[in-house]
Symmetry: C2
């Protein structure tokens, strides 16, 4: 039976807007279309793992509107375990408001809502945990107690204290970053990339449309993207991590974990929203084999 | 008994956000706080007139969410007649998303929702109408049939064709603009201010915190603002128009109409949102008399 993957971070309700122009200071612009989507990095990853048939658990802070919004039942429907959710009935759930213009420029506003309380909480002990964008103090506490730690500081890296970052890295077994973030991790810790890699063991660096590179044990495994007609890049990184992590807990070699991640990501970019077009394992496997050849199960 | 004032334009649901910074292209910024408010220029004016004890009617296009949002019952509670609403069950209601930073810069996104259909509609015949920000084609059609036309093109002036603007102005008895808009009206029509004034009869130009000037019959009546501790300037202009128009239909002289408008506006700016702190007639009268002396009823 699969290991339970505990995913820590946001379950957010996103309003995604298509606009003629980004409204800068004292401008007013019309909205072409907008809709509400379920998002938040951790919830995106959890639901993607569940859709692939994995066992996973979401550890987030949510507000009183979480049930009434329909998000709770959506996660439950796909089999995500919500028993460790931190519930704050008098707060709003985390929300993002993302405006995208015709040239794909984005302007984002983010309300932490109930997540402001994460830093005060005492996290549970978990076995295999992935730390997505979240409160750095909470992430540092849970990393100390977990059996295996996968860590993705994401764009919140700028909010991490050096102390929290170093504490998490000391407990991290697998690090996901993009090429800008890995540079910042080096700058903040005063370590070079090779020192970081030696400390952690496995570092995956993503390069947008150029794919990703898995660094491990002196090797650098290059993973291409799986090309599809992309509608919306949002959520591609989360889908990649979901595929990668589930494959990893199923004992696939790292190169195959990366290719499975890239395949799952190719589904996420096909439609607008982060959770609208996620594949089951068989669907993923079919597209994997069209792109990479036979997917051989680990021994 | 009071004349019915028919107010044409938007009934919008506004989300007002306090943010650290306006997010320009490819920036992401946190939200400090946000809340939903009922707004839309025409609905703001209608509800303010109703609160003052006047009779008024809202002519707007609304979506299927208008009843479920609670806005419909809010307007009914205050006695606004909704019998001439244009209802589009499969559309969203008009919405604005307004982001305000700590230096009071604003960035606004606006979704017309059901209001996109206004241009196709055949408006009703009304007696005394105020045209707030709305579709210019609809405004031009209703102005042709109305007994008395008050017109406020507002920031939508840039969307008016010269033809619609000239057609409305020919039927307008009273024009409200700010100092930028009156210049644009002159530019678009190729007329100087005196020509516009002669054609219309009464032109009220607003100057933000410097008050307003009523131009009529060779006179220019200067109206100061009523000073209060201002929390949110949004809705001040709508409240001014509401007070002015109700006083006008009650046969007060123009100078008193302006001072009543300024008094009502001073309530609107006291709290966040456009409809949160509107006065009844007696409350208005009390503050009017503290600032301007006795409010003598018209003969």
């Amino acid at each position: 039976m699969d290991k339970v993957i505990s995913v820590v971070g946001h379950a957010a309700i996103d309003l995604l807007f298509d606009v003629e122009n980004i409204a800068v200071h004292n401008e007013s612009h019309p909205i072409i279309e907008y809709n509400e989507y379920y998002g938040g990095g951790a919830a995106n990853i959890a639901i993607a793992i569940a859709r692939l048939g994995g066992r996973c658990q979401l550890i987030s802070a949510v507000g009183g509107d979480f049930a009434s919004s329909g998000y709770e039942s959506e996660l439950e429907k796909h089999g995500v375990d919500l028993s460790l959710l931190h519930r704050f009935e008098n707060e709003k759930s985390t929300r993002a408001f993302v405006f995208t213009d015709r040239e794909h420029n984005q302007s984002t506003y983010f309300d932490w809502g109930a997540s402001v309380h994460l830093q005060e909480l005492d996290p549970p002990v978990v076995d295999f945990v992935h730390l997505a964008t979240s409160d750095s103090t909470y992430n540092a506490k849970i990393a100390k107690k977990a059996g295996f730690v996968s860590f993705d500081p994401g764009q919140d890296l700028v909010t991490y204290s050096q102390e929290n970052l170093e504490s998490i890295l000391e407990n991290t077994n697998m690090l996901f970053t993009n090429r800008h973030e890995i540079q910042r991790v080096c700058d903040m810790t005063g370590k070079c990339f090779d020192d970081i890699l030696e400390m952690i063991g496995t570092v995956i660096v993503t390069y947008d449309v150029k794919g990703s590179i898995i660094h491990h044990n002196g090797e650098a495994i290059s993973i291409p993207v799986v090309s599809v007609k992309a509608m919306d890049p949002t959520g591609a990184g989360d889908a990649y991590r979901a595929g990668f992590l589930l494959a990893y807990t199923r004992n696939y070699p790292l190169g195959i974990c990366g290719r499975i991640g890239a395949t799952v990501a190719s589904f996420a970019v096909q439609s607008i929203g982060c959770q609208t077009d996620l594949p089951g394992w068989e669907e993923m496997e079919k597209r994997y084999e069209e792109n990479f050849g036979e997917l051989v199960s680990p021994a």
